[in-house]
């Protein structure tokens, strides 16, 4: 094993890691908004809204994320400024985050829907039988219970996004995987930089899982 490249190229891994975390962070935030929106459509009375939202979910889940990223990157009519922040070119970073969020949003919508559907239907009936409107019953009875199922699954989605975000290297975003490839090219060491990348990804996801696990236990015990 040859890790002699590490001292010189460590900064590449570090800025790559920062980018990966930033991409995942913004993707999860945007993805949650998209997911809530799609889930609300899916629960709506209007059949057209329901159709559109389930079509969205099916198409996103039924096509490769790589294809989605290319389509968004080349298909978005807006050109974002070439400003570079933390080594990331916004004209690539923004479409990358948008594509990943559109993807993640479909999964988040399913998480939210499953969380809501897991609540016994007797809860809605009891609430409605008191005269509460559908919206009130959602707000005061269903969502507070569903959120306990949804939050842990959302945390897990964050972990997934960290890993999946590596695919945006394909549009030249200098996140961890992209930078790892630079190191491999520059040093002619094909394998060991990948070990470093794997270790960093694992450290990120493992730490996040543990933190989320603690948060989840806190939430449960505060009942």
């Amino acid at each position: 094993m040859n890790f002699s490249f590490l001292p010189e190229y460590l900064p590449y891994f570090l800025t790559g890691t920062v980018s990966t975390v930033a991409i995942a962070f913004f993707t999860v935030i945007l993805g949650v908004f998209i997911g809530i929106f799609i889930a609300l459509m899916r629960l709506a009375k209007n059949p057209l809204l329901r159709f559109l939202s389930s079509a969205y979910v099916e198409v996103i889940r039924g096509t490769p994320v790589l294809v989605q990223i290319f389509i968004i990157y080349y298909g978005l009519p807006i050109h974002f400024p070439n400003t570079v922040i933390f080594g990331m070119d916004l004209s690539r970073f923004i479409p990358g985050v948008i594509a990943l969020s559109i993807n993640s949003g479909a999964y988040v919508a399913e998480i939210i829907r499953a969380g809501i559907q897991a609540i016994d239907k007797g809860q809605m009936e009891a609430a409605r039988s008191l005269g509460l409107t559908n919206a009130m019953a959602m707000r005061w009875i269903i969502l507070p219970q569903a959120i306990r199922n949804i939050l842990p699954a959302l945390g897990n989605e964050f972990v997934v996004v960290i890993k999946e975000s590596s695919v945006v290297m394909i549009i030249g975003i200098s996140e961890l995987m992209f930078n790892t490839n630079i190191v491999r090219g520059a040093t002619y060491i094909p394998l060991e930089p990948l070990y470093v990348a794997a270790a960093i990804y694992f450290l990120l996801t493992f730490t996040l899982s543990k933190v989320l696990g603690v948060a989840e236990r806190r939430m449960r015990s505060s009942d």
Binding site: D120, G122, Q123, E125, A126, A127, R128, S129, L130, G131, L132, T133, M136, W140, I141, P144, Q145, D223
Partner: protein, 240 residues
């Protein structure tokens, strides 16, 4: 107070209610019995539109609640419902279970709603459980709370769907006692139950349902001593 006119309900091809015409007056305690699957729950759930009838009308306090223009939430405030599975809100304390609807719908202040809730809890002997979550209650306690949760909206009629069927035998009595008190206070009640003792003691009227129809509509004493239809005879022979 409640009138149903030619009420039908279908679930897809399954014809569950086949024309129910009834008038329930204020102060009546109507007990509904019949074999499993005969449509008792469906009938009860139609009365507050938890199930929407496929055909027919329901008039409640002079309002046709099945009409498209009607906002059912108004009448539901006047119709309490108690479920077999209690359906208490597990994320809320007993107090909040009782005060949520009055505060949101009647715009009661917290103080007023809580004072009302305490009076109700006193009626069922559970004042000490006000700050407890439903998971910490026994089945009988849960159902008593579910009853007062419905009463907190000061309904004109109470609908009960097998309120004691999910209870351990030793807890049935405490729930029936609450219902008996309610009946003697003059509450209009429609009760689906297999508790024939209760039916005989507090029922002012009994309906025997079979295959989506009301086959007998009489008093408990008359039904138990002299059932008119063979189906009712068979059914009573099995359960008495």
């Amino acid at each position: 107070m409640i009138e149903t006119k030619d009420l039908h309900k279908k679930f897809g091809k399954l014809h569950v209610l086949k024309g129910i015409d009834l008038t329930i007056d204020k102060g009546e305690v109507v007990v509904v019995i019949g074999p499993s699957g005969s449509g008792k729950s469906t009938f009860l759930r139609c009365l507050n539109l938890l199930e929407h009838p496929s055909h027919g009308e329901i008039i409640f306090e002079g309002v046709n609640i099945t009409s498209r223009q009607n906002d059912i939430n108004q009448q539901r405030q006047k119709m309490g419902m108690v479920f077999q599975q209690f359906n208490l809100f597990p994320h809320l304390t007993v107090m909040k279970n009782l005060t949520l609807a009055p505060m949101k719908l009647k715009k009661l202040s917290r103080e007023n709603a809580e004072a009302g809730a305490m009076r109700l809890l006193e009626r069922v002997g559970l004042t000490d459980k006000a700050q407890v979550f439903p998971a910490q209650l026994s089945g009988g306690q849960k159902q008593r709370i579910a009853i007062v949760r419905a009463l907190a909206m000061e309904p004109d009629v109470m609908l009960f769907d097998e309120p004691t069927s999910a209870l351990d035998p030793e807890m049935v009595g405490e729930v029936l006692d609450v219902m008996k008190k309610l009946a003697s206070d003059g509450m209009t009640m429609v009760v689906v139950t297999h508790e024939m003792g209760f039916a005989r003691e507090v029922g002012t009227r009994i309906l025997f349902m079979d295959e989506g129809q009301v086959l007998e509509d009489t008093t408990p004493d008359l039904l138990f001593t002299d059932p008119k239809t063979d189906r009712a005879k068979e059914f009573l022979a099995k359960i008495l």
